[in-house]
């Protein structure tokens, strides 16, 4: 089966088109190749989106490949044909920032998300290889991926399709496994190995901007690795002559708050500015004097790369070169009316509306500066195909409910999507309570649920998988609800910070488009936020109290009863003569006493 390249631009953003075109140029070839580019985009609310993208091609066998050997060995050992690994922190605010970058295909849900197509001849074998893969990746990326066990693994049916080129024969042998760790922190130790996979290791090129202190200070950030096989001779018959390479797309996306990033230079701890420096809303009835309602975003603040990231780009990575194509390293998606001043290390290439691109030179620092813009000049926003949010309903320690609100903002187009939930075993949904309905639909409206795949949970062995394909008409809101029961865990199954609650993985929503052959393909992905489920939690010191108290009572009761049963009370006058043993003991005591006396006399 020939599938389109994973880099095919599915979005409508012009800037993405051009970037993706540059990336697409890094097609398969005899040699390994590498390209990198950075997209900067101003977002409303004085935020800047920085999207780093690194594409490297290579093979397993080539020792001089740009494709990192450490990862290639892991993929080989676990027979993984396609891998997607995401580290994400924060929430993409679609209402403010519009449609997610790269159509949401690169970012995962909060925490760590991993899915892979593993070659295996049976489910058991696939599970074993999946375990191998998780453990190896946990070592490579310093993350607790080894915690993805059978209870956190699902096998989605409709949500994911392989992005790479796999022959039909191979596809039949591939197993899709998916695991999430919503609780997993993402920090510098994950970025370090990520950068080490890059050919320039963060020393030159756009990756020199990547710094944990800035990345983990972002409002939203995502690091992702997608490894797919890419074969040459697309569309032709499959023969042994075709050359396949592995393509690795590493993406780091972050939304930086300009004000916060720039303030950090002076003082880390935020302090309110003096009232003279605040822009107040004069329309408030209490305005004037010492009362102020601060106005938001009266201007687009000035920023520069070195100001935001703490340093300029240190030249271009000399390996980022594709034969025959002029590389484009940095693009800024900024309104045309807003000036951009670039330093000497780069040449400007103007590309289309609201997009300016720069080609960097080797060994020369590069910086761009955007001056203050007042009044603010926002870019037109693209609405995502679907807005999604999810929350808990209900109360108490025994039951609960989940409600997801899915809104189709389009005025003329219905949207098809798959709603996927991966729930831990201790959250047990009741499928009969599942309902999906439009908020204001006429009774004659056809059902919005088209197809449901469900795998019930088994205690301590696997979690629930719920996959629902739905169709929401234009400008309508669907509400999905279901109830669940909370399991009571064993004492030792609680984590050390049990009172914090248990993180429930984000729901994954894959917006589908119908292909010519009637199958569906994911074109856009949305993740809801994760949820925090509070389970009935015992007082952990209580068992000790109970054990101690019970033991005391037991000891007292047993001791006194045993005493009553065994001890025979007799009066002194009732005792007869001593037995044989007693007489012997008496004699021995006498002898010992005499010897002792004699010894003392000698000493004296």
């Amino acid at each position: 089966m020939r599938l389109p390249s994973p880099l095919r631009p599915a979005g409508s953003l012009l800037c993405l088109l051009s970037l993706a075109a540059a990336a697409l140029a890094v097609g398969p070839g005899k040699h390994s190749s590498y390209a990198e580019n950075l997209l900067l985009k101003t977002l409303p609310g004085n935020s800047v989106l920085a999207s780093f993208r690194f594409v490297s091609n290579g093979t397993f066998d080539n020792h001089h490949s740009i494709f990192p050997r450490s990862l290639a060995q892991i993929l080989h050992a676990s027979r993984t044909k396609e891998l997607h690994l995401k580290f994400t922190l924060g929430r993409w605010d679609a209402s403010q920032w519009g449609s997610q970058i790269w159509d949401g295909r690169t970012a995962g849900g909060t925490g760590v998300e991993l899915w892979a197509w593993v070659e295996a001849s049976s489910d058991a074998e696939a599970n074993a290889r999946w375990t191998t893969l998780n453990n190896a990746l946990s070592g490579l990326f310093c993350a607790s991926l080894n915690f993805i066990d059978s209870t956190r693994t699902i096998r989605p049916v409709m949500s994911f399709q392989p992005d790479g080129h796999h022959s039909d024969d191979a596809l039949a042998r591939l197993h899709l496994l998916h695991g999430t760790l919503p609780r997993e922190p993402v920090c510098t130790e994950n970025l370090t190995p990520f950068l080490k996979l890059l050919p320039c290791k963060g020393k030159a090129g756009i990756s020199s901007l990547l710094d944990g202190h800035k990345l983990f200070d972002a409002q939203w950030q995502s690091m992702s690795i997608d490894v797919t096989p890419v074969c040459e001779g697309e569309g032709e018959g499959e023969g042994e002559t075709e050359r396949c390479q592995l393509q690795m797309v590493q993406t780091v996306d972050m939304v930086l708050d300009v004000e916060r990033s720039l303030r950090k230079k002076d003082s880390v701890i935020p302090k309110p500015p003096p009232i003279e420096h605040m822009a107040c809303d004069p329309d408030k009835f209490y305005a004037g004097g010492d009362s102020c309602f601060p106005l938001d975003h009266v201007s687009d603040l000035p920023w520069s790369l070195s100001g935001m990231f703490g340093r300029p780009i240190r030249g271009s990575c000399p390996l980022a070169r594709v034969p025959g194509v002029e590389p484009v390293h940095v693009c800024a998606s900024v309104p045309d009316e807003r000036p951009i001043f670039a330093s000497a290390g780069g040449q400007e290439r103007r590309q289309g509306d609201n997009l300016r691109c720069f080609v960097l030179e080797e060994n020369q620092d590069f910086d761009i500066i955007l001056p203050l813009q007042s009044p603010p000049l926002p870019l037109p926003l693209t609405a995502p195909p679907l807005h999604a949010s999810r929350s808990f309903t209900g109360h108490g320690q025994e039951h609960g409910g989940v409600q997801a609100v899915l809104h189709n903002p389009s005025l003329d187009r219905a949207v098809d999507f798959v709603y996927l939930e991966s729930l831990p075993w201790f959250m047990k949904p009741y499928l009969h309570t599942f309902s999906a309905a439009l908020t204001d639909a006429p009774p004659t409206h056809p059902k919005i649920v088209q197809e449901i795949y469900y795998r019930p949970a088994l205690d301590r062995r696997r979690g629930t998988q719920l996959e629902v394909r739905m169709r929401v008409p234009p400008n309508a809101t669907a509400i999905v609800t279901y109830d669940f029961a909370k399991a009571v865990l064993r004492y030792t199954e609680y984590p050390p910070d049990a009172n914090r609650g248990f993180d429930i993985a984000p729901a994954i929503i894959s917006v589908l488009s119908r292909e010519n052959d009637g199958s569906y393909r994911t074109t856009f992905s949305v993740r809801t936020t994760s949820l925090l489920l509070s389970l009935p939690t015992p007082d952990f010191s209580m068992p000790y109290n109970v054990i101690i108290l019970t033991s005391t009572v037991m000891a007292l009761a047993f001791g006194s009863i045993f005493n009553l049963l065994v001890r025979r009370l007799v009066g002194a006058h009732e005792t007869g003569g001593l037995g044989l043993l007693g007489r012997v003991r008496e004699r021995v005591a006498e002898v010992v006493a005499r010897l002792g006396r004699r010894g003392k006399e000698k000493v004296l």
């Binding site: 049976s122 310093c142 607790s144 042998r173 510098t188 370090t192 795949y453 050390p496």
Partner: protein, 373 residues
């Protein structure tokens, strides 16, 4: 080859005196929660020190029990400081944490020491030492008389560690060991050791607390413990390079009860060498003596053999022959057993009728039973 064989006992004799060929460090912080920031700072300070003196990340096992650097409470994302002057960011740009969060458990720690791990465990999570390795073990957290609390949920006892070390000795997993611990009543933790070649030091004796040094008001909590602070002060001032000739005796002599506010202890009875002869870099640095034997040109073969070993070790699955495995896979068709099943909603009255029928049958049976009896 033969002359080297003859020389072998001689070589062994020399190594028994004082030779190690690799340095490893196991750095463990066992406390969860933000207010235990200082324990993570302690352990990261030691991480920076051993890294500064040359032990590579691949030979450092760093166990961090909580996420402090990227904690939402941290006003300085991605950083951990051990001093209120905030001159040195311990987290830095290049850090590899091997065990983190919930992975830091007593079980994992003992498994790491004794190398009784799952077959899939990656190399970075294993202590791949041998009988020529010097190991520096540093632990910090909340402890008591003969125990150290892990993760606010469980504890390791002095006997557990002592037995784990004995097992390491029996398995020839270390040459010499330095055990350093900074907790309350720390000296009780090494009181049960009985294996040879262990040098142990702790921050406070029985019934003594171990105190924090100072707090940073912007971080909001204490940033380092006293014992670790003064250890670090000595190491920073005196052991500036890996070629430093300072000895463990110098380090132990620098301990000052006035400053530490507790009684640091040193246990030397298991250790065979005189502390005057033990360089600090024997444990904190990556300094080894190289022995060259068999200068008859066979080293090239040995290097080949070594590289072969390394390949087999890193890729055990390749060992059995990649081709045969591949062929075997090409045969049998994929057995697929999709976990999720399609749920269909059946409309119509047949199911309802069946349900009503079943209920009716039950009712009839009950009536019949009660009237007949």
């Amino acid at each position: 080859m033969k002359p080297t064989r003859l020389l072998l006992p001689l070589a062994l004799l020399s190594c028994a005196l004082a030779q190690h060929t690799s340095n490893w460090a196991v750095l463990v912080s066992t406390s969860r929660f933000w207010f235990n920031y200082r324990h993570l700072a302690n352990v990261l300070s030691m991480y920076r020190t051993v890294k500064r003196l040359g032990i590579p990340d691949s030979q450092i096992i760093l166990m961090l029990s909580d996420d402090i650097a990227c904690n939402p409470r941290n006003a300085f994302p991605g950083t951990v400081y051990n001093n209120a002057d905030r001159a040195l960011d311990l987290y830095g740009d290049n850090i590899e944490v091997d065990y983190r969060g919930y992975e830091v458990t007593v079980e994992n720690f003992i498994r790491l020491l004794t190398d009784r791990v799952e077959p899939d465990t990656p190399r970075s999570k294993r202590l791949l030492t041998d009988d020529r390795s010097n190991i520096f073990i540093y632990m910090t957290g909340h402890g008591g008389n003969e125990f150290l609390k892990f993760q606010d949920a469980e504890e390791i006892s002095a006997f557990d560690i002592a037995d784990a070390f004995e097992q390491m000795w029996e398995k020839k997993r270390y040459h010499e060991m330095l055990f350093m611990i900074d907790t309350c009543q720390a000296n009780t933790m090494y009181s049960k050791f009985y294996s040879p070649n262990i040098l142990a030091t702790g921050s406070s004796k029985l019934d003594e607390s171990s105190y924090s040094h100072h707090a940073d008001n912007d971080v909001g909590v204490a940033v380092i413990d006293r014992y670790t602070y003064y250890n670090l002060e000595f190491l920073e001032n005196n052991v500036q390079t890996a070629s430093s000739k300072d000895t463990m005796k110098d380090l132990f002599d620098s301990y000052d009860m006035e400053k530490i506010h507790s009684t640091p202890g040193v246990r030397t009875d298991l250790f065979r060498r005189d502390l005057k002869d033990v360089l600090i870099t024997d444990f904190f640095g990556n300094v080894q003596n190289v022995e060259v034997d068999g200068e008859d040109g066979s080293w090239q073969e040995e290097i080949l053999e070594l590289s072969r070993l390394a390949i087999n070790f890193t890729m055990p699955r390749r060992n059995g022959g990649c081709k045969s495995a591949g062929q075997e896979e090409k045969t049998g068709p994929a057995v697929r057993n999709v976990g999720a099943v399609r749920v269909e909603e059946k409309e119509g009255w047949s199911k309802n009728a069946m349900g009503v029928g079943a209920l009716l049958a039950c009712g009839i049976a009950w009536v019949a039973g009660s009237t007949l009896l």
